[in-house]
Amino acid sequence: MNIKNKTTMMISHAILLLLMLLTLFPIIYTFTSSFKTNMELMTEPGRLLPVDPTVENYELIWNSDGFNIGRLLWNSTYYTLINVFISVMISSMAGYVFARGEFFGKKFVFACFTALMFVKTGNITVYPQFDILNALNLNKGLWALMIIHLFGIPVVNIYLVRGFVLSLPKALDEAAQIDGCSFIGTFFKIIMPLLKPILATIAILSFNLYWNDYILPTVFTTTKPEQQTLMVGLMALKSTSGAASNWNLMMAGSVIALLPLLVAYAFGNKYFVSGLAAGAVKG
């Protein structure tokens, strides 16, 4: 029995370990490749470790005019951070209102917001959005996209906050309101501090989402290339470089795009997963 168990464990670990290596390998290979010269990338793809490690690629992309990584990083950073802030604020307030508020048309508004998840008209809707932004004299560009996000409806996040607020004892709000706190005041003084865990989840999921965002930032920066984000710039590098001449730069760029995510994942792993679990409950 004991021996049988041991062999089962060994086989299990062998399979799981293999799967883990297959999962990690492309990431590790990208890391090591970013220290290879382009020549080596093309001629000796089978080697994992570089023959003669060099940071030349990083220097190249740092100083390149076409692929201005400093600017791309800066654009990605403020685009991501501002959107994370917007996401956290909007979804926490809306989640609170739909959990605790009592107002005319609550059910109807909530149903409308939820129904949005099921309409998939695709990206052609950027045209009417452009029209509105132009009419308001807000030109295209990354900032215009952030304005759209400011007025966006993060349905899943609203559900997450709503579920969390519903699980808090109602006596908390009531006590605050007896003491003369308004409905809004109760949110900022009492409820929001208690929302920290779920807001951390939302913040990290939004960080992931907006850092990786590609299609809309591309659409909104076509006329303003100086506002391109890192993902847009990386993709432009791929599509403009002839055949395979720039692999070293692309690998180094990928590593730079990956690093913030990997760091966030290393420290906030449980928030990534708790968002998934909370989302799964809601289907």
Binding site: L22, E102, V109, K120, T121, T125, L150, Y214, L261
Partner: protein
């Protein structure tokens, strides 16, 4: 909501007036807090949807002088002339049929192994399997284009092993391009399904297994007679999410193959983006009216697919 003890001390008349005021201010406060998404709902969501429906019956390319009402011509055109759109649907289903079963088999094996009570290092395996799903499509596109490039690692290994004498141009062949897409997208998302399945397994009560064991059931038998039926409800939701997610795959295709070779890996959503969205389309004045008609039909087809899926899974439920 505010009916508390202190109400009793206020005279009746005053109280009802105060209550009304409070209710009004409650309404105002609530609407203030959801003002941004509510405005956004009308301006940036509902209006664009109505816009799409409206222009679907027009010949429209953004130039006012060329705009005219053409009734259902756009819809007739897509069913009679534009076969690329339907080819894209076919590709989308081909992709989903290749990807989903394979991904579920891998995720199921991993989750079953991880579900063993005495297994160590569970957390590490789980964290690693989930890791690729946080990486952006663009970076995945670069990583896998490199691995499967003509001078890439994959060809290097195949040549070294003597399986092929000359490198394969992965992205030039229809079958091989699809294979790269399937491999990379399974790599990307299988960890999510491992998580869902592990959560589903944890929901199966232990004593059911124990009583089955007493009755002499084998572990294979227990898997098919207990585990699978017990996780069926969660499994159905997972499958719906995978199905909709896979069918609406968009940027992944655009960054990996761009729909090539010869449009053989072009999926529906990627097709709509590449044909009509600024920054992706090659035309200066894309036929927006026609694009709207395609978007409307796509929306409806997605709704129909979800509906059929739900009806089918209800039937399945009745079988048990």
């Amino acid at each position: 909501m505010f009916k508390h003890s202190y109400d009793a001390k206020i005279p009746l008349l005053k109280r009802s007036k105060g209550m009304a005021k409070k209710r009004l201010s409650m309404n105002v406060q609530c609407y203030l807090m959801i003002a941004l998404p509510l405005i956004g709902f009308f301006v940036f969501t509902l209006y664009p949807i109505l816009w799409t429906f409206r222009w679907s019956v027009f010949s429209y390319n953004g130039v006012p002088s060329e705009t005219r009402f053409i009734g259902l011509d756009n819809f007739i055109r897509m069913f009679t002339v534009d076969l690329d759109y339907w080819k894209a649907w076919l590709n989308t289903f081909k992709f989903a049929i290749c990807k989903i079963p394979l991904e579920y088999i891998i995720a199921m094996i991993a989750a079953l192994l991880l579900n063993q009570k005495r297994l160590k290092l569970k957390g590490m395996y789980r964290a690693v399997y989930y890791l690729p799903s946080i990486i952006s499509a663009v970076v995945i596109g670069l990583i896998f284009s490199n691995l499967f490039g003509f001078f890439g690692l994959m060809n290097g290994i195949l040549i070294d092993l003597g399986i092929v004498s000359e490198g394969i141009d992965w992205f030039a062949g229809k079958g091989s391009a699809l294979a790269v897409l399937v491999i990379s997208s399974i790599w990307n998302t299988f960890g999510v399904n491992v998580m869902y399945l592990m959560a589903a397994f944890a929901n199966v009560p232990e004593d059911v297994y124990e009583s089955a064991k007493l009755d002499g059931a084998s572990s294979v038998r227990m898997f098919f007679s207990i585990t699978l039926p017990m996780i069926a409800p969660i499994f159905q939701i997972m499958l719906l999410l995978s199905l909709i997610g896979t069918l609406s795959i968009n940027e992944f295709i655009l960054v990996m193959t761009g729909g090539g070779p010869g449009g053989s890996t072009m999926t529906v959503m990627a097709y709509l983006t590449q044909k009509f969205v600024p920054g992706f389309t090659s035309e200066a004045t894309p036929a927006l009216g026609y694009g709207c008609a395609l978007s409307v039909v796509t929306t409806i087809l997605f709704a129909v697919i979800s509906f059929i899926y739900n009806a089918a899974s209800k039937k399945m439920n009745d079988l048990y």
